[in-house]
Amino acid sequence: MEVDNGTTAWLLSAASMVLLMLPGLALFYGGMNRARGILNMMMMSFGSLALVGVLWVLYGYSVAFGASQNGIIGDPTQFAGFKGVLAETAVTAGLPDTVFAGFQAGFAVITVALISGAIADRAKFSAWMVFVGAWATLVYFPVAHWVFAFQGFDDAAGAYTAGGWIGFDLATIDLAGGTAVHINAGAAALALALVLGRRKGFGAEPMRPNNLPLVMLGAGILFFGWFGFNVASTLGVGFNSGYIWINTFVATCAAMLGWLVVERLRDGKSTSLGAASGAIAGLVAITPGCGAVTPVGAIFIGLISGVVCAFAVGLKYKLKYDDSLDVVGIHLVGGLLGTILIAFFASDAAVYYGQNGLFYGGGGDLFFKQIVGAIAVMAYSFVIAFIIGFIIDKTMGFRISEEDELEGIDFTEHAENAYELTGRAGGSFTSSRPTTTSEVSS
């Protein structure tokens, strides 16, 4: 099949935009963390980029997008080491498979990184890296197959003939990963928060964000990349791209409004952390349905997710699990909302899916499909993540020592402190770490 240059151009941009979300996420999480652990938090994202990236080429892409074995998993050897992908003829609907494989690489890398927000300031970096490899292999790659694999494009029918059991067989609507990305990461985050336990001082000390401007920048970068994430998930360019872009945009705006209004009414003041969190909540919630609802539907989904998540992030204090940076409150809750609200707000005016939800005269079967898809991914991810985490904890140990936690994980795990800002002065000491030096030798 021939390459469509316009489609390929957009997918190349979009794939790169998706990758920019990785440092965006690292900033968003890192800035929200306490200062003593910002680097470790960022390193958990960068570490997952490094490892999942290599695994993706070695076998991950093949597990996710190899020939479907009954909708459960792709053939893990078919594209191992990208053999077969590297053929000029490997082009689907105008898009070279290599470009598709690159676009999807970003999804894998980011989904794994999302989990790290739940275990701030207390996880051994080595244990995290082991978790990354295991969870990507056992959970992400197969789940991506369940949701994103559509195979055997029949040019005559203009439709796929095989694929993953959720996306293809069950036909749950999830364009860009409400289930495979957000519910998936959110459920794993909850599991790890339980395995690792709470930070010392959780619920007693404020543990305020160390650098809110970086949080807002991180959110802004995620916002930007998300347009690649959502819009390019149709793997094409055209009319659909436009309204998916608009839906992504306006749901984010509405969610910010929703969150800020909740804060204003409940706490008296709207915060910048609320604006950033609201934006992410909206982006998460519109991810599965961005191609299934109208812009007005997107406004509702955004508003609802902004309001609900603004309350959901408080749950951890009540239920006493330390989901440090609100991965559960935003990604799991937002992902569930977004996946299920499709059953209400889907409209056939959004022609990419062309289905109507309950509010537009549609039937209950879509509701069923959405619920099953969401719960399946949530349960699977939670259970496997818990098991992996438990095994790591019992063998190599997942958590750093209490002493190291008090000292600060950046220094004890990475030998670094984030900031040495004392500027103009000649002496390089700072009050936050020792730097006067007697000698250096290499």
Binding site: L406, E416, S431, T435, S438, E439, V440
Partner: protein, 112 residues
């Protein structure tokens, strides 16, 4: 009146604060510092090069107290911040001629 100055490990600040409150101390001033004593810093390796770091981060707590309360306050601080390891910190007591509360202009013991 005396000024009790304590230089202790940063993560002991909350404990010291609570101990002082239990003692009935009504105020304190806190600032950041770094220093060394018996605890001489340690060798770090970074980017393949080796460093010896000397100055370790601390917090400084200052409390104005009545002459009568000095030993109790010192004891409270020492107890709250003691772990028995080097780097635990130092406390010292120095004389103060007068204390003034800015809000009221009161002088002396009443102003503490």
């Amino acid at each position: 009146m005396k000024l009790v100055t304590a230089v202790v490990k940063p993560h002991k600040l909350d404990d010291v604060k609570n101990a002082l409150e239990t003692q009935g101390v009504q105020g304190m001033t806190v600032s950041e510092a770094s220093g060394y004593g018996r605890q001489k810093g340690h060798t770090e390796v970074y980017r393949g090069a080796e460093y010896t770091s000397d100055l370790v981060p601390k917090v400084r707590v200052e409390v104005l107290v009545d002459d009568a309360d000095v030993s109790e306050v010192v004891d409270a601080i020492v107890r709250a911040s003691q772990s028995g390891r080097i780097g635990d910190g130092k406390v010292w007591v120095s004389p103060v001629d007068d204390v003034i509360r800015v809000r009221t202009g009161e002088h002396g013991t009443d102003a503490i």
